[in-house]
């Protein structure tokens, strides 16, 4: 959560708390406040160079760094999993530069940085979900110039976006777009939900948590405040629908979660498992994801170990 940090919170390793300097965090927080006041509106910000390449979550990391405090517990997921390279690297990064406690459990986390998924477990008030966004502009394919796409947002001229859905129905008989499915936020701004599957779109609607979006490459921040309307575009006669699977999760038996297809051998063997590892583990009753406590456990709180 946002806490005022004094400027002398440098770590023993010579980094300022959470890597970014306080002026940068202040600038990003201002952008975040503006973004929260105008849900779905893309606020430009001065993205910094981060010690990882563009496209690996530089925007998300800068947002996380600006909102996280020593008492926070951070969860990072990539494609729903906590144990992928990108997720592990980012978690390790924050343990190092902020000495915070990390967790793999949604219920324990106060800040969750995500790439490609919204956790299956319902979020609650007080939690912050930070999305990594490669391309913030939903109108990019429609208005070739940014000056025009910003006008389209300003005047709420979104007919052309609807045309792309029309094209899908004309060609395939249904709206074929399955990820980065455009949403209308608060009945005003068209927004890209980042490359999450459309399966996750309904979770954004009326969510009690704060949802923040950061694109480092495009230098844009946008946000959905708690309990905000987030409607997926559709047609009256072709309503928005999420993906469904014939199978249930091979591990936990969930019939309602987002499933990944896993190839198990070279003879055509395959199975479907939850993409959200924390959710799957919780359903199985196992407890694989313990909190990892960084070097100094000063900020660690109860519940971080189990």
């Amino acid at each position: 959560m946002i806490q005022v940090m004094s400027s002398n919170t440098e770590t023993s390793k010579g980094y300022n708390f959470a890597y970014l300097d306080e002026q940068t965090k202040r600038m990003i927080r201002r952008a975040l406040l503006k973004a929260l006041s105008i849900p779905g509106y893309q606020v430009p910000f001065g993205a910094r160079e981060m010690p990882l390449p563009c496209g690996w979550g530089t925007g998300g990391i800068q947002v996380t760094a600006s909102v996280i405090g020593p008492a926070d517990r951070l969860k990072v997921i990539d494609q729903g999993a906590d144990d992928t390279t990108n997720a592990i690297s980012i978690r390790r990064f924050f343990k190092k530069v902020a000495q915070i406690v990390t967790t793999e459990k949604v219920d324990e986390a106060t800040v969750i940085q995500t790439r490609h998924r919204v956790p299956e477990t319902a979020l609650i008030e007080g939690q912050i979900l930070v999305y990594q966004v490669p391309q913030p502009e939903p109108l990019r394919g429609i208005a070739p110039r940014q000056i025009e796409s910003r006008k389209l947002h300003a005047y709420a001229e979104y007919g052309a976006m609807q045309v792309t859905l029309y094209e899908d129905v004309a060609r395939f008989g249904y709206i074929a777009r399955i990820y980065e499915y455009p949403v209308m936020v608060n009945g005003r701004h068209l927004m890209s939900p980042s490359p999450i599957p459309k399966f996750d779109n309904p979770k954004m609607q009326n969510n009690p948590a704060i949802q923040l979006f950061g694109s480092g490459t495009e230098k844009r921040i946008y946000a959905v405040p708690p309990y905000t309307s987030v409607r997926s575009l559709d047609f009256d006669d072709h309503p928005f629908e999420v993906q469904k699977w014939k199978q249930s999760c091979a591990f936990c038996g969930s019939g309602t979660s987002y499933l990944d297809e896993v190839i198990t051998d070279d003879r055509g063997g395959r199975m479907f498992v939850c993409s959200d590892t924390d959710y799957c583990a919780k359903r199985r009753g196992a407890q694989p994801g313990t909190s990892e406590v960084a070097g100094s456990p000063a900020g660690a709180t109860a519940g971080s170990s189990s």
Binding site: A154, G159, A160, Q162, A170, D236, D237
Partner: protein, 265 residues
């Protein structure tokens, strides 16, 4: 005679007064005034550089004139100076009550969107959200402009120039605008294709009672489409009147030259 009754009380649709626009020392158009009535088709002819395109750009709100006023009879507020409208208001007007047909169809249609999608854009931009109805309307308009329904889902880049131009017209007229601006609508088309386009345009303009301003250097186009004609030279309107009057009995030296320069076939 119902049509006649409708015309009895005519009010001005577009009232243009003293519009001038220059580019530095270069004159674009000079002190142009006229009134356009609903359902009236006005042709503007003149050679390249005579100021007709500048005038059209001013009228369509794309260019701010240096002096003068352009009042349009809006549905909500009656006659309003379009120069006093905010940009979103003007853009809204341009995609609902107006149509703009560009000389090059590339400027007026989305080449990577199917014909049906092109026609559906304007309805969708003003809130149409029923796919079936949008598609039915697209079909109706493809019929009107004589494009085979089998091409509904094809991209315009696979169309001939004449088909592209007819698609552009359908895309513009689908919201039944009251005023359409056309810049050389037949420019760059084969003569045989022009005839079909003109025929389609004429039928639609009459059927829908659309007022239109057509800028062209092709006198045959205005003879066929325009009720009235303005002849421009060096930024000024030098002669105007009924189209057949101006073409058959031109008074100004330049108009006489223009009319006598047309090759007869």
């Amino acid at each position: 005679m119902t049509a006649a009754a409708k015309v009895a009380t005519r009010r001005i649709l577009l009232d243009v007064r003293g519009v001038s626009k220059s580019y530095g020392g270069q004159v674009g158009c000079l002190d142009v005034s006229f009134a356009l009535y609903p359902g009236e088709v006005l042709g503007i002819v003149g050679e390249s550089g005579s100021g007709k395109s500048t005038l059209l750009a001013c009228l369509a709100g794309r260019l701010a004139p240096d002096t003068g006023s352009i009042a349009y009879d809006t549905k909500e507020r009656g006659l309003v100076d379009i120069l006093s409208l905010s940009e979103p208001e003007r853009r809204r007007l341009a995609r609902t009550d107006w149509g703009i047909v560009h000389q090059n169809p590339r400027d007026g249609i989305r080449m990577d969107v199917s014909a049906g999608g092109n026609i559906g854009e304007r309805p969708m931009s003003i809130g149409a959200r029923h796919y079936g109805k949008i598609r039915a309307e697209a079909h109706e308009w493809l019929n009107k402009v004589e494009i085979d329904l089998a091409r509904t889902d094809d991209k315009p880049r696979t169309f001939s120039g004449g088909m592209q131009q007819r698609l552009q017209i359908a895309r513009n007229l689908v919201t039944r605008p009251r005023l359409v601006f056309m810049d050389e609508p037949t420019g760059g088309l084969d003569v045989s294709v022009q005839a079909k386009l003109l025929d389609v345009l004429r039928g639609l303009v009459h059927e829908l009672g659309i007022a239109a301003i057509i800028v062209t250097h092709d006198l045959a186009v205005v003879r066929l489409l325009a009720d009235r004609l303005m002849v421009m030279q060096r930024g000024r309107v030098i002669e105007e009147g009924l189209t057949d009057q101006v073409l058959d009995d031109p008074h100004q030296p330049y108009t006489q030259l223009l009319v006598s320069s047309v090759l007869q076939v």
